[in-house]
């Protein structure tokens, strides 16, 4: 390629040291041991999301003030943006890489903003109706999500619901001050309006036989949830005045009158316990929560615990109820014993050990027991394998029986709205595949999740998180208005700007600008590395703010 220079005479020598030939003939790419590769990664928020939502994607759309498109993107996975924006426990925020900089991004508030300000409704009817029919047992978040995804793909869907209204736990388990009914109605009606057949007041096993459904439908999805209140197994549990947390929440949510009296004791430390306790407060009762471990072990979300404490709920930790008796006059007495924490048990938490002789008594008008929920498996066919009180399935909701799928709280997974929606989505895909549909979605490649060390924080400016406005405790108690208020539109845009966009190329061109060999070129809407010249120095990788570029060892074609 390069010819031997012959500059024997003085006048041939140029005044400056310049290569006679173009340096393009020098293929410095041969020096390379590692090759840079532009490849989007998985942001931790998406990875952690039980619904696997494109969190970064919708946040980026919000930065561009495109709330409609943001909502559309969320609804690709999750038809309950307004719900998850309010009541999801947002694991996405917990893993947000910005936490290592100036605090996580308020993802939940942004999801809510997308649903508050974005307008998007799927077309009324799926473009092409398939003949295949799917029965969905249970009209909760899991069942409805599955119905939504399958209806989008043209299947004939029938949802069977025991209660008179759809929504499952979202309807009867979550109080208005966390999730207003009109918001829930809006989300559900969008799904129903797509042409989903709904049969309410239909209990499987009572009103219709499960075997009959199995015969009539091409596939069945069981998502009947966990609506049985777990027993306390102590004396006096069946006394009048001892009520179940789930039933209490259900009655209030369905608009029934419940009188609790002046003093209420709630037993348990989960979300149901806190929901029940905070509702009792709003009904005018003084409320005490009894929990056998400490706050650290409480399964309720920290937000609920904090807001409950703000609202002046009394919490007795390390307290085990052992007996409930009726008073002579009126009301109940709960006998308790104090506990200390022992070794770690099967749940991974430290076991409470009663301290003998520490017994004491508390009086109450009503005792609400909320120590957990169980699934009703009594109506299921015998052949369906169940274990530990739930239906056994694989991660896609495939059960032990052909064309029977299960998801949500009736299966072995964390009992959260997000997990219910996530399983509904995965089951829909599994059913689609089982009924001969093509899986359009590429199998999730084994892309790495982007760690905070890969983010070049030098390119970001510190910007404090915009906190979600919360009603003051006194204002909250006056009515059942939502405690958490939404972000204003401009605040949402500003907060969205804080997103690092981990692992997703936004074409900032840093790689192109910083490459000392001009070996990065634009390639329509992405970049091309000229491997003939790239020396593999890695500067592009270091200067990529979002960690999109990785250095790969093997030669890249």
């Amino acid at each position: 390629m390069s010819k031997k220079l012959k500059l024997d005479r003085r006048k041939d020598i140029p005044p400056i040291a310049i290569s006679l030939e173009s340096t393009l003939s020098i293929k410095t790419g041969t020096w390379r041991y590692f090759s840079p590769l532009h490849k989007n990664k998985i942001p931790p928020c998406k990875h952690e999301c039980p619904i696997n939502q494109d969190v970064q994607g919708f946040i980026e759309l919000i930065t561009q003030d495109k709330f409609d498109k943001a909502l559309k993107l969320i609804r690709r996975d999750n038809p309950f943006a307004a719900v998850t924006g309010r009541v999801c426990y947002h694991p996405c925020q917990t893993v947000c890489n910005r936490e290592y900089f100036d605090g996580y991004v308020s993802i939940a508030a942004l999801e809510r903003a997308a649903s508050d300000y974005g307008l998007y409704t799927e077309k009324k009817k799926a473009t092409r109706n398939k003949k295949k029919k799917v029965a969905i047992l249970g009209g909760g978040p899991s069942g409805l999500t599955c119905a939504y995804h399958l209806r989008m793909r043209g299947y004939q869907i029938t949802v069977f619901e025991e209660l008179s209204v759809l929504g499952g736990m979202l309807r009867v388990g979550i109080p208005d001050y966390r999730l207003p009914k009109n918001i829930l109605d809006r989300e559900i009606s969008k799904i129903v309006d797509m042409g989903v057949e709904v049969k309410t007041n239909t209990k499987i096993g009572r009103d219709i036989d499960i075997q009959e459904l199995e015969n009539r439908y091409d596939a069945m999805f069981i998502a009947t949830g966990a609506h049985l209140n777990r027993k306390l197994n102590i004396l006096g549990e069946s006394l009048k005045g001892v009520i179940s947390g789930l039933k209490f929440l259900r009655d209030i949510n369905l608009g029934r009158k419940v009188s609790l009296g002046k003093k209420v004791i709630v037993i348990g430390g989960g979300n149901t316990a806190f929901d029940a306790a905070r509702l009792a407060l709003r009904l005018g009762s003084r409320t005490t929560i009894i929990y056998r471990r400490t706050q650290e072990q409480m399964p309720a979300y920290i937000e609920e615990i904090e807001q409950g404490i703000e609202e002046e709920i009394e919490i007795l930790y390390l307290t085990i109820p052992i007996k409930i008796t009726e008073n002579n006059e009126k009301g109940l007495t709960v006998e308790c014993v104090k506990a200390r924490l022992g070794d770690v048990d099967a749940s991974g938490r430290r076991r409470p050990i009663p301290i003998s002789g520490s017994n004491f008594f508390i009086k109450a008008d009503t005792v609400i027991s909320a120590i957990g929920e169980d699934a009703d498996l009594s109506y299921l066919p015998k052949k369906l394998r169940c274990q530990k009180g739930v239906i056994t399935t694989d991660e896609n909701g495939v059960s032990s029986c052909f064309k029977i799928f299960a998801g949500g709280d009736v299966t072995d997974q964390p009992r959260t709205v997000a997990h219910a929606i996530g399983s509904g989505k995965r089951v829909a895909m599994a059913i689609h595949k089982a009924l001969g549909g093509k899986t359009l979605k590429k199998p999730e490649e084994d892309l790495p999740v982007i760690e905070h060390e890969k983010i070049n924080q030098d390119y970001f400016e510190e910007q404090k998180r915009i906190e979600t406005p919360i009603l003051t405790p006194t204002k909250r108690m006056r009515n059942t208005k939502e405690v958490k208020q939404g972000l204003k539109k401009d605040m949402a845009v500003k907060e969205a700007m804080r997103c690092f966009g981990c692992g997703i190329c936004n074409q900032c061109e840093n790689c192109l600008i910083f490459c000392p060999d001009l070996a990065v070129e634009r390639d329509s809407d992405s970049f091309k590395v000229l491997y003939d010249y790239c020396k593999g120095c890695g500067i592009c990788m270091l200067e990529c703010p979002r960690g999109v570029i990785t250095m790969e060892k093997e030669p890249i074609e």
């Binding site: 500059l7 003085r10 020598i13 140029p14 005044p15 400056i16 040291a17 310049i18 290569s19 030939e21 173009s22 340096t23 393009l24 020098i26 001009l518």
Partner: protein, 385 residues
């Protein structure tokens, strides 16, 4: 248009009139107003890029990078700043980049000082830069415009020196030429070699023993050529603007028995003193050296060959020897077939900005008159007793 402006602002106007495209500078007293005015003048001008850099080493490096892409490039500095540039000054010249720089002469520390002498720029004598020493604010402005033209023709950078405070901060009437006239005099820079992403070449790469020597020889040839280019450019400038400066300026030298050799603003003071002696009928003249690099040895020989005594005023010192202009003048008089070699007196005065008044120059002339030849290489004038 005539304006009364300080020397530093004369620099800024000259740079803008020359349609400089990239300016990279770091402020330092007494140069600061150059950059201040420039940033003001180019704030709304999209054709100029003013780079704020973190040091003088960076400013010269940025100028080198910019100049290599083929744009007209300028910087300004002073004293320690110039010293900090030293390494890259060699590079700019060796890479044959026509960068123009203003150095506002300021004495070197320690001890800290802000006032004028020439040791900063003269320390950079051997870097391959052209050096001009200016006497007035008008000359500053005119020299900048000329320097771009000269540098771009011979492919060596130019350093224009002005005395700190005496010129940089003194207001004088300056005739600011019209833009269109300057454009006609100084057309766009058309580089022969430049960095071009569409035709990539390697620049400044390792050059072995086979070629480096010849390339250094070419630099010296360019310096030799510069003399004629400076004269030619000066003549062309005169045609457009009516002013000419040359390599040296002779002032009453023709019949002079004593010739003062000066540079920078001291030349201005010397004129007054020479005028005074002339009025008394004494045959005294002055030779102002405007270009120190290339050194006008021929002109010096021609002028000094007719006189009886020479007095060189140096506002600088090469420690361990003598004044630097003194050395250069003496060297010019040797080796060549010069018929008359008058005694040369080397005076050092005004270091660190001490004023060189007409009295001081008179003292120098009187000493030269009274003594047949210098007793020493250095005659200190104005030292405290």
């Amino acid at each position: 248009m005539k304006k009364v402006i300080i020397g530093n602002h004369a620099v800024s106007y000259g740079v803008m009139l020359s349609r400089t495209q990239v300016i990279a500078a770091y402020p330092i007293t007494p140069q600061t107003e150059v950059v201040e005015k420039l940033s003001e003048l180019c704030s709304n001008n999209k054709r100029v890029k003013l780079l704020k850099v973190e040091s003088e080493h960076s400013s010269m490096s940025a100028c080198i990078g910019a100049s290599m892409t083929g744009v007209r490039t300028f910087t300004a500095t002073s004293s320690q700043g110039l010293a900090f540039m030293h390494e890259v000054l060699h590079w700019a010249a060796g890479a044959r980049l026509p960068i123009v720089m203003v150095n506002v002469n300021r004495a070197m520390a320690a001890p800290w000082t802000l006032w004028a002498d020439q040791n900063d720029s003269l320390s950079q004598r051997d870097t391959g830069w052209l050096q001009f020493y200016c006497e007035t604010n008008q000359e500053i402005l005119d020299t900048i415009i000329q320097a771009f033209k000269i540098s771009e023709e011979i492919l060596l950078p130019s350093m224009i020196c002005l005395d700190g405070f005496f010129l940089s901060h003194t207001s004088e009437p300056v005739d600011i030429p019209l833009k269109k006239d300057v454009d006609a005099f100084l057309p766009r820079y058309k580089p022969k070699y430049r960095i071009d992403v569409n035709d990539p070449h390697a620049f400044g790469g390792v050059t072995g023993v086979n070629y480096y020597f010849e390339m250094r020889n070419q630099m010296q040839e360019a310096m030799d050529k510069a003399k004629n280019v400076i004269l030619k450019t000066g003549k062309k400038f005169k045609k457009s603007f009516g002013r000419e400066y040359g390599l040296v300026e002779e002032y009453h030298c023709d019949d002079a028995e004593i010739i003062l050799i000066t540079s920078g603003m001291i030349a201005g003071t010397s004129r007054v003193v020479v005028d005074g002696y002339r009025r008394k009928g004494k045959r005294v003249g002055m030779l102002k050296v405007r270009t120190f690099r290339p050194f006008p040895a021929e002109e010096v020989r021609r002028v000094l060959g007719k006189t009886k005594k020479v007095a060189v005023i140096d506002r600088n010192i090469s420690f361990g020897h003598s004044g630097i202009f003194f050395q250069e003048v003496k060297a010019a008089m040797y080796n060549e077939d010069v018929l008359n070699r008058p005694p040369i007196f080397g005076y050092i005065t005004g270091l660190g900005g001490r004023d060189v008044t007409p009295d001081i120059i008179q003292e120098i002339l009187d000493y030269t008159t009274l003594n047949t030849k210098p007793k020493d290489d250095i005659i200190w004038i104005g030292l405290k007793r």
